[in-house]
């Protein structure tokens, strides 16, 4: 037995480890940790010396394992202390988090675009196509095909803007329905949205240009009940799930029967208020079962297919839902107004 062997044997490695663990628990700074590491793992530590002197394989493996274990203890403690130190440091860097962020320029969709998209999406979800018809139309597609005879009052230049002869600025988006039906066989499920033109004098509720959405469904077995259900769905999507819709008889040349649809007031819930003029109901727009003459005009057989149609003004939806008091604001493009929505 050599001296060295005696040294290796003389140390109680279990106690060595216990002492290390005990001391490690007391460590509160990286400096202390370094001292501890030097004492137990440093070049001059008992463990390092023993590892240098060890000769038998078994003891060597045991001491190596011990060294690895102690080193892991040091590392994990160091990690903890560093994290705590960083945390302390960061807490010093206090910022006034209530100050404004860096300015990012913000764009904005026009309110009418927002409503247009809402309506489009509702009908896309119901399986309708969205059609952008032309704004300049001929009298056949705007009037005759829609069952408005030569004497119909809307045809008068007092109501409609004429370009020349039979060419007019559309007063509703429905001529695009005629064009789609002329070009395709039923079934047709479509909405057309866009600008329409009327000879109206500008005031808070009139502008010669406004936006309409008109819907058309033509298929086998379409009923007036389907129209009621579709407009109920639309009204609830636009004005809230609790809305009710009611219908009152009306007259339009292109539908028979024709009805005015009203939605229960979203503001007062039907009790009566300023918005609904104390009636509890707000008019949505005209609707009805497609007149058989219209179907015949596009070459459809009214005995085979039936349909419904409806029309609403986008401005009206916007004004009602958001309380916009004056239609002209949509066209003035004052950023203070635009950015509200």
């Amino acid at each position: 037995m050599t001296d060295n062997e005696a040294t290796v044997a003389a140390v109680d490695w279990e106690a060595y480890e216990r002492q290390f663990e005990g001391a490690l628990k007391e460590v509160t700074s990286l400096d202390d940790l370094e001292k501890l590491r030097v004492e137990y793992l440093g070049r001059k530590s008992a463990l390092a010396q023993a590892l240098r002197d060890v000769r038998d394989r078994e003891t060597g493996m045991r001491l190596n394992a011990l060294r690895a274990k102690l080193q892991a203890g040091v590392d994990s403690c160091a990690g903890r202390l560093q994290a705590a130190a960083l945390e302390r440091e960061l807490r010093e860097e206090q910022l006034d988090v209530t100050l404004p962020g860096e300015h990012i320029p913000r764009g904005n969709y026009h309110l009418l675009t927002q409503i247009r998209r809402e309506v489009e999406d509702i009908f896309l979800g119901l399986g309708y196509q969205v059609v952008d018809g032309d704004e300049v139309e001929d009298a056949w597609h705007l009037f005759d095909a829609l069952n408005m005879g030569p004497a119909h009052v809307t045809r008068s230049p007092l109501h409609t803007l004429y370009l020349n002869g039979d060419i007019v600025l559309r007063t509703e988006t429905s001529p695009s329905q005629i064009r789609v039906m002329e070009e395709t066989k039923p079934p047709v499920y479509m909405v057309s949205l866009g600008r329409v033109y009327r000879r109206d004098t500008v005031d808070p509720t009139h502008f010669p240009i406004f936006h309409q959405v008109e819907g058309l469904a033509v298929d086998r077995g379409i009923t007036l009940a389907d129209l009621k259900g579709t407009l109920l769905h639309l009204a609830r999507a636009l004005f809230g799930e609790d809305r009710e819709v009611r219908f009152a008889t009306d007259f339009f040349p292109f539908t028979e029967p024709s009805m005015q649809a009203s939605v229960s007031c979203f503001l007062c819930g039907g009790a009566g208020c300023r918005v609904c003029k104390e009636s509890g109901w707000i008019e949505m727009g005209g609707s009805g079962v497609v007149d058989p003459n219209v179907l015949v005009n596009v070459g459809y057989d009214p005995e085979e297919v039936s349909g419904f149609a409806f029309g609403l003004g986008l401005e009206r939806i916007a004004m009602l839902r958001h309380g916009v008091p004056d239609l002209r604001m949509f066209w003035e493009n004052d950023l203070r107004f635009l950015r509200q929505f």
Binding site: G107, L112, E135, Y189, K228, G229, F247, P257, E332, L335
Partner: protein, 765 residues
């Protein structure tokens, strides 16, 4: 259409709450716009405070020359002292009295008062104070003096409730109280009274010369002659009716014509027979240039399309629209010729539009009045004229063409149910139609009543009749779609993408008018009859309107002004219709660079690489305008707007036409790019865009990216020259490019640029 309920109840006995009546009329007949109460409020026993009173004594007020001091018996034993400002009555007269506490029609509460020292325990009322007419010159003296203390409501129509209906143009039959009563009777299954009016015995058989020269314009003309007419005011009940119905009482004869029009829907006219030349009526077209002074005092020039009622010499009325002063019934009138005619709608509408003259009469005629109605109207009017004016009815003529037979239409009840989406039994359908005056045979051949003959001509129209009475019963369903699915078109999806990109880039969306005062395009389409000079032309470019919107925001001192619009322009020629093109335009603070940045971002979003060349645009700065494949980008011409504003306008069709339908994968990861900076010295006039286009052409697809990062002018490059620095990336999807490959590509670029532009490669790293 104003429908006083007391009048309505004369034709249909009805005892349903007002709310329910209004709601059902609204759903099935016509929109109820308002419910108006006329006259004395009839709640809280208010009507009990209105009495008939007999004036026992009347004399001058001791302290006021213009007041009368009256003692009035109102059935209390002791007469009441009442001070009154009118003098058109005296002791013995029976008058209308309101007692203290009464609420007057205008909402004021009457208090006992002292007037110039004398107590007044009530008020003697005028016609106008009771809303029975317009007359306020004197108080209302009750004829046939009812007993003092009689409730006034028993002798005068003190209050009424009026439904204000907005009827549809296809239903002229609803412009009549009787027509509305017919619907109400059907709705509530109550009996409808027979047509009002029955002919009194005719006191003679005088001939009335009537000639209808235009039977198409006037299919029927009933004339009736009355003599010994005493023109005077109508009785209170009639005046009250007219006021409730929104008309002004004039005189008994005129009031009768208005009353009958409102009751039955057939406008009537009364002529002073003695003012008709030859006592004759000729229904004819006007002669060109013929003039007439209508009852409103206006002189009107007629043409050959206007239908007139003439006498032997001159027009005495514009048929169906308005009478003339030259034949007007007045106080001295003793002979009346009553006209109960029928006129065709088209001519009436045209004349009334041309003259800008709309009357209660023309409003009915232009919708098409039932020619069979004339005889009912003549009958009711005759009865009333004889009764109210003491006249004798002496002659009648009825000139008519062959009147149209009522249409007969086959109804398939099962089809009605199918179209409505509501099971309605054939018996129920028959019942509804029958109540409305249709005759329904066993086989469902339906005869349309004459007053609906223009409106109901097809099976669909009958189905509407069945449906409108049960709108609330129809359920809410969705179509059982079989072959459709909803999706946006490519253009619609890309349009949304453009909107999203621009909003993301900080621009706010604007909506501007398609009709503009003028347009840079000289051939732009001009409306022949524009709304105003400001809305006269269909625009061919969005920028001018958008600049106006920007200007407004500048004036409002708004910050960060950046607007865009997506809308159509209308390109000439209009043969027959103009080309409608979707455009996007934007104007934003910060000059050319920002606008070009937005345009580049927009292209990048669409996966397009724009080419920029120097361009020209009337609206843009001549030195700072570039053209791309789809439009223009530049700086707004400073003459148009102060400051430096970036602007662009691109044609979405041109833009979207180049957007690839499908993007194919390219390997940009595996083989790294070689990045280099190249600087070329070129003559001042050479533009960077040209260099880039040439470099791309020279190096081919392995020149993956080329961007300008610096432009330098100065001594180092010499007078009239500039140095443009590019950062380029060479990359191949198939192999790693070696330094030698990169050098070769660089050389190709340098050679081409040297050759074409005299460019000298200054440095390359």
């Amino acid at each position: 259409m104003l429908v006083p309920l007391t009048w309505l109840r004369e034709y249909v006995d009805l005892d349903v709450p007002l709310e329910e009546l209004a709601a059902r009329i609204h759903t099935s007949v016509a929109e109820v716009e308002r419910i108006v109460r006329r006259g004395v409020p009839d709640d809280d026993g208010n009507l009990d405070l209105y009495r008939a009173g007999r004036v026992v004594e009347a004399g001058k007020h001791p302290n006021a020359d213009r007041l009368q001091l009256c003692q009035v018996d109102v059935g209390e034993g002791e007469p009441r002292q009442i001070v009154c400002g009118a003098w058109n009555f005296g002791a013995g007269a029976t008058v209308a009295v309101a007692l203290p506490g009464a609420v007057l029609p205008d909402g004021q509460k009457l208090e006992q008062a002292k007037l110039r020292g004398e107590v007044s325990k009530g008020m003697i009322l005028s016609e106008r104070e009771l809303e029975l007419g317009q007359d306020h010159t004197g108080i209302l003296v009750l004829e046939d003096g009812p007993e003092p203390g009689t409730p006034l409501a028993d002798v005068l129509p003190l209050s009424d409730t009026v439904l204000e209906l907005e009827t549809t143009p296809n239903r002229p039959d609803l412009l009549a109280v009787y027509g509305v009563a017919r619907e109400v009777a059907a709705l509530f299954d109550r009996p409808l009274e027979p047509w009002p009016g029955s002919d009194p015995e005719r006191a003679g058989n005088e001939q009335i010369p009537v000639k209808v020269e235009d039977p198409e314009g006037c299919p029927r003309y009933i004339g009736r002659l009355f003599r010994e007419v005493a023109v005077g005011p109508s009785p209170p009940w009639l005046r009250a009716r007219l006021v409730s119905a929104g008309m002004r009482p004039i005189s008994n004869v005129v009031d009768v014509t208005n009353y009958v029009m409102h009751a039955l829907g057939n406008p009537l006219h009364a002529f002073d027979r003695q003012k008709l030349a030859d006592g004759r009526i000729v229904v004819r077209r006007a002669r060109k240039g013929e003039t007439i002074r209508t009852l409103d005092g206006a002189d009107r020039t007629l043409d050959e399309r206007d239908l007139v009622i003439a006498d032997a010499e001159k027009p005495v009325a514009i048929a169906g629209i308005m009478g003339s002063e030259n034949s007007e019934v007045g106080e001295s009138t003793a002979e009346v010729l009553l006209e109960a005619a029928n006129f065709e709608p088209v001519a009436i509408l045209r004349t009334s539009e041309r003259l800008g003259l709309r009357t209660d009469g023309s409003n009915r005629w232009e919708k098409g009045v039932d020619p069979y109605l004339a005889e009912h109207a003549a009958r009711l009017a005759t009865e009333l004229i004889v009764e109210l004016t003491g006249a004798r009815w002496l002659g009648e003529i009825d000139v008519k063409a062959e009147l149209p037979k009522p249409p007969v239409i086959r109804l398939r009840p099962e089809r009605a149910s199918a179209l409505l989406g509501l099971k309605v039994s054939p018996d129920q359908q028959r019942e509804t139609l029958t109540r409305l005056g249709f005759e329904v045979s066993k086989r469902f051949d339906v005869t349309v009543p004459t007053w609906r003959a223009r409106d109901v001509t097809r099976e669909a129209d009958l189905i509407e009749e069945v449906g409108r009475f049960r709108l609330d019963e129809i359920s809410f369903t969705l179509p059982l779609r079989r072959e459709m699915f909803g999706r946006l078109t490519k253009e619609q999806r890309l349009r949304r993408l453009v909107e999203e990109t621009l909003v993301g880039a900080g621009l706010a969306e604007a909506y501007t008018s398609s009709l503009v005062p003028n347009d840079p395009e000289p051939n732009a389409i001009r409306l022949p009859e524009p709304l105003s000079a400001d809305q006269a032309v269909l625009r061919t470019t969005l920028l001018p309107s958008l600049a106006t919107a920007v200007e407004r925001n500048v004036d409002a001192a708004n910050d960060e002004i950046a607007l865009f619009e997506i809308a159509r322009v209308y390109l000439p020629p209009a043969d027959p219709r103009p080309a409608e093109r979707w455009r996007v335009a934007g104007i934003l603070e910060g000059g050319y660079g920002r606008a070009k940045g937005v345009v580049e971002t927009l292209h990048a979003t669409l996966k397009l690489e724009p080419r920029f060349e120097r361009g020209e645009h009337a609206f843009l700065h001549p030195g700072k305008t570039a053209r791309t494949e789809a439009g223009f980008v530049g700086e707004l011409h400073p003459a148009r707007l102060d400051g430096s504003w970036g602007a662009f306008e691109l044609d979405l069709g041109d833009l979207f036409g180049r957007v690839p339908d499908r993007l194919a994968y390219e390997d940009v990861i595996t083989y790294p790019a070689v990045r280099q900076d190249l600087a070329f010295v070129v003559p001042e006039e050479v533009e960077a865009g040209e260099l880039i286009n040439a470099a791309r052409a020279a190096a081919g697809p392995e020149l993956r990216q080329v961007e300008i990062f610096d432009v330098y002018r100065g001594e180092q490059v010499g007078e009239g020259k500039k140095s443009i620095a590019f950062s380029v990336a060479f990359q191949s999807p198939e192999r790693t490019l070696s330094d030698a490959d990169a050098a070769a590509l660089r050389q190709k670029i340098a050679n081409t640029l040297a050759e074409r532009f005299g460019a000298v490669l200054r440095s390359g790293t």
